[in-house]
């Protein structure tokens, strides 16, 4: 919370009261199945939903603890990958048939094709390991 030096005594009290009230309000809120889709969530977190488009989305986030939580988690994720946004193509390889790639994935998931093994060759990028264990959500 904001430190005591920046708020007067009454504001500190109201901050504490508000903090408790909001947590309990959130824990008690009802969920429904009407949530924002992935496209809207992603665009909102990136700040691409401007003031003209946003009233209904902001209203929904205030009312829906689930979507609020998703945008909160996505905002943290966005920040963690802030320096990782530049698209760098790997020009070294020839185009491969995507059907082969997909076949490999399908065989791993469904075990239908022993021969198809997808060997991806971007080892140098894979060495960048995220070590921040407390960021893991599951």
């Amino acid at each position: 919370m904001i430190s005591k030096g920046q708020l007067n005594a009454e504001e500190i009290k109201i901050q504490g009261l508000l903090d408790r009230f909001l947590r309990v309000r959130s824990a008690n809120s009802n969920f429904n199945n009407n949530h924002l889709d992935e496209d809207s969530l992603a665009a909102f977190v990136e700040g691409k939903i401007n003031e003209k488009e946003s009233p209904n989305i902001i209203q929904h986030l205030v009312d829906c603890s689930f979507c609020l939580h998703v945008t909160g988690e996505l905002a943290k994720l966005h920040m963690a990958f802030e320096a990782d946004e530049v698209v760098v193509a790997n020009p070294s390889k020839e185009p491969m048939k995507f059907s082969e790639v997909l076949s490999g994935i399908m065989s791993k998931i469904f075990g239908t094709n022993d021969a198809a093994v997808f060997a991806h060759e971007e080892k140098e990028e894979e060495t960048e390991k995220e070590s921040d264990e407390d960021k893991k959500v599951f």
Binding site: E10, F21, D39, I49, S54, V70, E85, I105, H120, E126
Partner: protein
């Protein structure tokens, strides 16, 4: 605003009823062909082998305009609004997504080259094990390609990408949701809502503690205390309810989602961010430098202002609606402060 189910209908070409906001603005699209042609030409030059037709691209852009600009807007729009909106879209990302959704080998190769390593990093960052991370990446690839067939056409998840945000931002969201689904599947089919709800309950109960009443506190009659408590809770609920939605959302991110000031600053760093737009609506500095960076201190000032407003509203409710005197307001705040060590009291009151 179009919700998940409605948007799915849109993407899968299931007829939906257009809202009045969409219908009244529909004619504006007729004046945007030139801008769309211009965007299409640029995208085609950047990716000549993707096989995306102008008609298909145009229809996709129309869908995005309807979804975000027409549905969300309460004020009258102009042709210029629509044209500016179209120019802001992540057109190259959308072009790639459309081509991938149709199964273009070249587009898939580009996607794999440019985004697969990123997908894997996001999955590893979120997942608890390398196996889970790899499972999620595989699952996302299958979803992106699409395994369902409707009316003879394969339905790719790429069809739900609108180009409003970046493709990578959208991919992060897809990976996040896939991990939640994976977690749910491996935890006896606990529903997503239940899971989130339990997390919330757990958090709320984690700091519960029985109140320890000292001698001075015991001097106040318990019934009177309860009455003050209930009055206090109603007042804080009303004071919060009177805030603008932008202020509410800021408080919720800070207090409920525990976002740090720098994370909120990141969330609002884009000049078009609605939270930033609202909090800086009267800022002269913003007029002169609309792209200025948002610092943590700026977010802190927004929070301080909001606390001040809540306190003002809170006092006004107690004074005018409840007819309390100044000294009684002090008692309310004092009791509330003492009770913070025992938040279950508020938990009970809020449900009654």
């Amino acid at each position: 605003m179009i919700m998940l189910e409605e948007f799915t209908n849109l993407v899968y070409n299931i007829p939906i009823i257009m809202s009045p906001e969409v219908i009244q603005n529909e004619h504006l699209l007729e004046h945007c062909d030139e801008v769309i042609d211009e965007i299409y030409t640029r995208c085609s030059q950047n990716a000549p082998n993707f096989g995306v037709s102008l008609e298909w691209f145009r229809e996709s852009l129309h869908r995005t305009v309807r979804k975000y600009l027409f549905s969300g807007s309460t004020n009258p729009l102009t042709v210029s609004d629509v044209q500016n909106f179209l120019r802001e879209l992540q057109a190259d990302d959308l072009f790639l997504a459309l081509a991938c959704s149709s199964g273009s080998e070249r587009a898939w190769w580009e996607f794999d080259q440019n985004h697969r390593a990123y997908l894997e990093r996001v999955a590893r960052h979120l997942a608890s094990s390398e196996t889970n991370a790899q499972d999620v990446v595989d699952t996302v690839y299958v979803e992106l390609y699409g395994t369902r067939v409707i009316d003879g056409a394969r339905v790719s998840k790429f069809s739900t990408y609108s180009g409003r945000g970046s493709l990578r931002g959208w991919l992060r969201t897809v990976v996040w949701h896939s991990l939640v689904d994976l977690h749910r599947t491996s935890h006896d089919e606990v529903s997503l809502d239940e899971m989130t709800e339990n997390v919330g309950e757990g958090y709320a109960q984690a700091s519960f503690a029985e109140p320890s009443l000292d001698g001075e506190v015991e001097m106040i009659d318990q019934l009177t205390r309860d009455r003050y408590r209930k009055t206090t809770l109603n007042a804080i609920e009303n004071a919060f309810g009177d805030l603008d939605n932008h202020e509410k959302l800021l408080l919720l991110y800070y207090h409920v989602e525990n976002l740090k000031l720098r994370e909120i600053a990141k969330l609002v760093e884009v000049p078009t961010s609605p939270l930033r737009d609202w909090f800086q609506r009267k800022s002269a500095q913003r007029e002169s430098n609309p792209n200025m960076k948002i610092h943590e201190s700026t977010v802190m000032r927004w929070l301080e202002k909001t606390y001040g407003k809540v306190l003002k509203n809170f006092r006004a409710k107690l004074l005018t609606q409840n007819g309390l005197k100044e000294e009684e307001i002090e008692i309310c705040l004092e009791i509330a402060t003492q009770d913070l060590a025992s938040p279950n009291l508020y938990r009970k009151l809020i449900t009654t």
